[in-house]
Amino acid sequence: MKTLLGLPRASELRTLGQKFDNIPEKEYDGGQGELGKDKSLPSPHEELASRDKKEHYKKVIDTLSRHQLDQLDAVMRGSSLAVVFQMSSEDDELDRVTPESSVPLWKDRTTGRDVSPADWIRMHYGKTLNDGSWDPDGLTRADLQIDPQLYSAYAQQVKRNPKAAISELPVEEHKKSGDAEAILEERRAKDRNRKALKRSA
């Protein structure tokens, strides 16, 4: 890619670390799908032909986790990149609240497509009563933000199929705009607590 003004390239003025320079390539033996050794690729941005680039992207896809592949699948079906970026950057990830260690994260699930987000919520949150019914035990839909991926996946599921919504799960009413300052203060307090907890951990 040529520069348009002949200025120095921003990417050459700062070190970007290894993220874009040495993406590990998974080598497969004879196309049989057996995992071979990892090796480093040269930077994909050194004037590669578009065909080489496509090959490179295919190799990058091979390195993605199951969860990432699910996200990519959603992108391919919906032609929207929003889902990709809901994964967000590592920094963003670090800044998020993680659920109690006893509750597994949606992104770490090994159940694939067999368990829907709604099923997952019933399995890991609230409690199952003697008659087999599910009780949220004080949980609201907003509380699911503790696991952002689950929150988004559930929202997507309900959007696509409103009948899949968990009727027992209360949805908090939006606070009136007059309470904006109070809401902001509440958020700030939560943020401060979260950061304090993270520091102490």
Partner: protein, 351 residues
């Protein structure tokens, strides 16, 4: 006394198949204005039909931006719309998921870049990140390059992979509830346009679907319309954009100019600007602004000849519709992405 201090800013201009990042130093000058010193650039291009390639390149641009995060005071980002909202709050900077084109459809532009910039709270984002429409960014960039006066209104018609218009008053985006989407305007078909529906076809379409079914300016004036029209008129799909017959070639370039003139007329009758700039990335003859002016003039004169109400003001003269301002030391006007990125740097500095 001017208490503003110099700052480093960045602009990221996103189109359907490419992106462009510009980093600049902004120095305060008189009348609350800023002077930009362009420092570095980073182009990116992608296959719009391949989401992984778009995501990869956007992430790379974000990483490049992130490498400067400790020095950057503010960043502005622009892309095509329509956006859900361009006012801080819910939906700010989100490209509509229902009606926008791929590949940025549904994308939350703040979210894409805020992680790289270390902006994790709404407050941080509000202070250091802003989103604009592509054409509005170009309008501000052009106003900066031309040093337009504080009260002058400049319109920038953006004709690339889509068609848009942006308005700047002085060096600020002309305020509105959302942003202009002139590409959605129903087009009056040029009689010689092979890709425009004929009147009969339009009537048929209306009666069949029982709803208005006009072709829009965007459908008839964006880049892919140029290629479709070329194929229809020449009967070949080479990339030369040249015809054996010069009259046919003239007609070919006139057709797009006619649609862009319709945009200029619409803009002028709603909010008369002091100047209109047409920025087109496919303009081999470098004369789209002159052709559009001819059609524009024809419209005004037609109204006068028919003794219909018409208007006239001082700026409505040759040069009212112009091409983008050339950067110092360059002979050709910059592509819209450069003008837009300059505008974004200016908006970031002024934030």
């Amino acid at each position: 006394m001017d208490e503003r201090s110099p700052k480093r800013v960045a602009g990221v201009f996103l189109e359907r198949s490419r992106g462009y990042l510009l980093i600049a130093d902004a120095r305060p000058i008189e009348h609350d204005a800023w002077q930009l010193v362009l420092l570095a650039e980073e182009p990116a291009d992608w296959d719009a039909l391949e989401p992984s390639s778009v995501a990869f390149e956007l992430d790379r641009l974000g990483a490049v931006l992130g490498a400067f995060r400790d020095e950057l005071s503010s960043v502005a980002i622009a892309s095509y719309g329509p956006f859900v909202s361009l006012k801080p709050g819910r939906g700010y900077g989100v490209v509509r998921a229902d009606t926008a084109d791929i590949p940025l459809r549904g994308l939350d532009l703040c979210q894409v870049f805020s992680g790289h910039l270390g902006l994790h709270t709404l407050e941080q984002r509000a202070k250091r990140l802003q989103i604009q429409s592509d054409a509005c960014a170009c309008a501000v960039g052009e106003a900066y390059l031309r040093k337009t006066g504080k009260d002058e209104v400049l319109a920038y018609v953006f004709a690339t992979e889509g068609v848009g218009i942006g308005l700047a008053k002085g060096r600020e985006v002309f305020p509105s509830a959302l942003h202009p989407e002139i590409g959605l305007l129903p087009a009056v078909a040029h009689l010689g346009d092979p890709i425009a529906r004929t009147k009969e076809e339009s009537i048929l379409a209306i009666s069949r679907k029982a709803k208005l079914d006009f072709q829009s300016i965007s459908q008839l004036a964006r880049n892919d319309a140029i290629w479709k029209r070329y194929e229809a008129m020449k009967g070949a799909n080479d990339s030369s954009l040249q015809f054996a017959s010069s009259s046919k070639e003239e007609m070919f370039w006139d057709i797009r100019a006619c649609y862009l003139a319709e945009v200029c007329v619409a803009c002028t009758v709603v909010s008369p600007p002091h100047k209109i700039i047409i920025g087109a990335d496919i303009d081999p003859k470098n004369d789209v602004h002159l052709r559009a002016w001819d059609y524009f003039k024809h419209f005004i004169e037609g109204r006068l000849n028919a003794r219909d109400p018409a208007f006239q003001y001082t700026e409505l003269k040759k040069g009212f519709i112009d091409q983008p301002f050339c950067l110092p030391g360059k002979d050709e006007p910059p592509p819209p992405a450069v003008t837009g990125a300059i505008g974004l740097c200016y908006l970031a500095a002024a934030k």
